[in-house]
């Protein structure tokens, strides 16, 4: 029996663990090692260079620019996305016309809204980015055509071609594609808050805005916090990379105005053939990601409310 048990455990764990070790753990471990070498990625000989890559990184203007953009994304994206999502979810669940025997009610058609809002979440970020790239097209895109149609002919921004606007265009795309997910998530959370809490508060003369900040938000806090981490990782990771890579000129331009850390890692490794230095920037990104998660967890720590 015991013998059979261990054979079973080993048999079942071997394949998944081997795959995971070869394609995930091993590359991660290697990348830390490579970050101390001058490996180009093209030839197999390279040397240890100590902290040279790291000091080079600290003097690298493009690194700092990328870092700045990544941090900006990691701060603004969760703020706007979660803010909008909380607002919409509150409107969906509490903004409805009062019905008999209920102090608060959801709006009519809330099921429809949730279905529609969730649409972008199932679409590939590539599709979304391509769609918006064309919508942002200064001469024939949807946005400038709309501006023209409403009489703002003089206002025809270059959108992705304007260094001051380009990063915000990318941000809009990421917000557009993620808000719906959190509306649905927060709605589920809000629906589980007992209605008597609102009734009691409203009877005591509290306004709707007060009930949002005193009842809804505290009871949803755990979900908001994990949403915050989730959005931050998204802003520092694959989604931000994909949106910038697909949408912007260069990519990363114009004039490095939209370059983000993962994109810079990718370009350094596979365009500039500096694999060693690229992994150094990757380690930098790892540190930023860890710091972000730690800060959010620490700032967001509150007494857990049970209800």
């Amino acid at each position: 029996m015991q013998h059979g048990k261990y054979r079973f455990i080993v048999g079942f764990l071997a394949a998944p663990l081997a795959l995971y070790a070869i394609f995930v753990i091993w590359p991660f471990a290697q990348s830390i090692y490579y970050s101390f070498t001058d490996w180009t990625g093209l030839s197999s000989d390279f040397q240890m260079v100590g902290f040279d890559n790291y000091s080079r990184m600290l003097d690298d203007d493009i690194f700092w620019k990328s870092l700045q953009h990544s941090v900006l994304l990691a701060l603004l994206l969760p703020l706007v996305t979660l803010g909008l999502a909380l607002f919409f979810a509150f409107m969906l669940n509490v903004g409805g016309r009062r019905r008999k025997n209920a102090a608060v009610a959801g709006v009519r058609g809330s099921a429809f809204y949730k279905i529609a809002y969730f649409f972008p979440q199932v679409l590939s970020i590539v599709i979304v980015a391509l769609l918006f790239q064309f919508a942002f097209n200064p001469t024939s895109g949807m946005l400038n055509a709309t501006l023209k149609a409403v009489g703002l002919k003089s206002l025809q921004p270059d959108w992705l071609g304007d260094p001051d606007l380009a990063l915000y265009c990318v941000m809009v795309v990421l917000i557009w594609s993620t808000v719906g997910f959190f509306v649905v998530l927060f709605s589920a959370g809000m629906a589980s808050i007992p209605k008597d809490f609102y009734e009691a508060a409203l009877l005591d003369g509290a306004s709707r805005i007060t009930t949002f900040f005193k009842i809804t938000l505290p009871l949803l806090w755990d979900t908001v916090q994990s949403g915050w981490v989730y959005m931050g990782i998204l802003a520092l990771g694959v989604e931000a990379f994909t949106a910038v890579q697909v949408m912007t000129v260069g990519p990363g331009g114009p004039d490095y105005s939209t370059t983000v850390l993962p994109l810079y890692v990718y370009q350094t490794a596979f365009r500039d053939a500096q694999a060693g230095y690229a992994t150094t920037i990757g380690v930098g990104l790892l540190i930023v990601t860890m710091l972000f998660a730690a800060i959010v967890m620490r700032l967001g720590r509150r007494e857990r409310l049970e209800f």
């Binding site: 079973f8 409107m91 809204y113 649409f119 590539v126 391509l130 064309f134 949807m142 997910f181 949403g227």
Partner: protein, 305 residues
């Protein structure tokens, strides 16, 4: 469990605000409710339009000529130009991209669910030295930036001769889907009752047989949720194939679309690009509409845990 949950096809008709059926309560309060009701409908409709508009615009544009896309972006197509669709499907190789994507995602989805549930079952149900360590090794993979591993991964794949191959891509997809799958299914297996598995063992079933014939069928709801999550993630995957799969013939859908967009930039075949985009959107949107409830449950399950 229910098989399908059809979403309401049409939004509930909005009754005019003038109709007064406010419940008992002070007049001041009911007017506050009314203003709020109008306001909330207002903002909710605006966002719904913002979400749906670009998608409708893409569908519309896919039936227009290049000329009218560029000169009158908002006009309806003069006639339905289906040739855009056939051009994208044949000449722009969308059919190949579809086939490649189906192969890769099909293989990796089956592999992910099989290997993920095997690992999760052992980790959830058996005590052995190193159990916790292996569990956290898997879970840790969720928080690392993939891009960091990507540079060495490229060379690992290169050395193993797996670069630019369907099976290589499948193995990598499985490996990178394991952390979440193991995390999700471990907590799922823990919630299942132990008595049935024990009964099966008493009846002489082996561990392996118990797993495949008793535990796996019981875990079906969890497998569906995590399966949908992985399906969408793998279907929409862009970063891994961009780095590991650069062979023009083996491109997956997301790469193919980017390829289409960049090469079309010079040829100016915008209508073909839109047709390709809509083509790539439709299966996912269709699946979402049909399996709406399961999709939402699958995608939000991870964030709620």
């Amino acid at each position: 469990m229910k098989v399908t949950e059809t979403p309401p096809a049409v939004p509930a008709p909005r009754s005019p605000v003038t109709k007064t059926d406010a419940p008992a309560g002070g007049p001041a309060k009911s007017s506050e409710g009314k203003v709020l009701n109008v306001f909330s409908h207002g903002v909710l409709i605006i966002w719904a339009v913002l979400v749906v508009m670009p998608l409708l615009w893409a569908v519309m544009s896919s039936f227009k000529t290049d000329d009218s896309i560029l000169s009158t972006p908002w006009a309806l197509p003069d006639e339905l130009h289906f040739e855009n669709w056939s051009r994208a499907w044949n000449q722009a190789h969308m059919s190949d991209y579809f086939l490649n994507t189906i192969l890769v995602v099909g293989g990796s989805l089956i592999g992910t669910l099989l290997l993920g549930s095997m690992a999760a079952y052992v980790l959830a149900r058996f005590d052995f030295p190193g159990n916790r360590f292996i569990y956290f090794l898997f879970i840790g993979g969720m928080s690392f930036p993939i891009i960091l591993a990507l540079v060495p991964l490229f060379f690992v794949m290169n050395n193993m001769g797996l670069l630019n191959s369907v099976h290589g891509l499948i193995l990598v997809y499985i490996a990178y889907s394991l952390p979440f799958t193991v995390f999700f299914l471990t907590s799922f297996f823990r919630t299942l009752p132990t008595s049935i598995a024990e009964a099966a063992m008493l009846d002489g079933a082996s561990h392996t047989r118990t797993f495949f014939q008793v535990m796996l069928p019981m875990a079906k709801p969890g497998l569906i949720s995590v399966g949908i999550f992985n399906f969408l993630g793998q279907w929409n995957q862009y970063m891994l194939p961009t780095v590991l799969n650069t062979d023009p013939d083996g491109k997956v859908l997301s790469q193919g679309l980017v390829e289409l967009a960049t090469s079309q930039g010079y040829k100016g075949d915008w209508s073909g690009l839109f047709a390709g985009l809509v083509m790539a959107m439709l299966p996912v949107l269709g699946a979402y509409i049909v399996f709406q409830r399961q999709v939402v449950a699958g995608l939000t399950a991870g964030a709620l845990k």
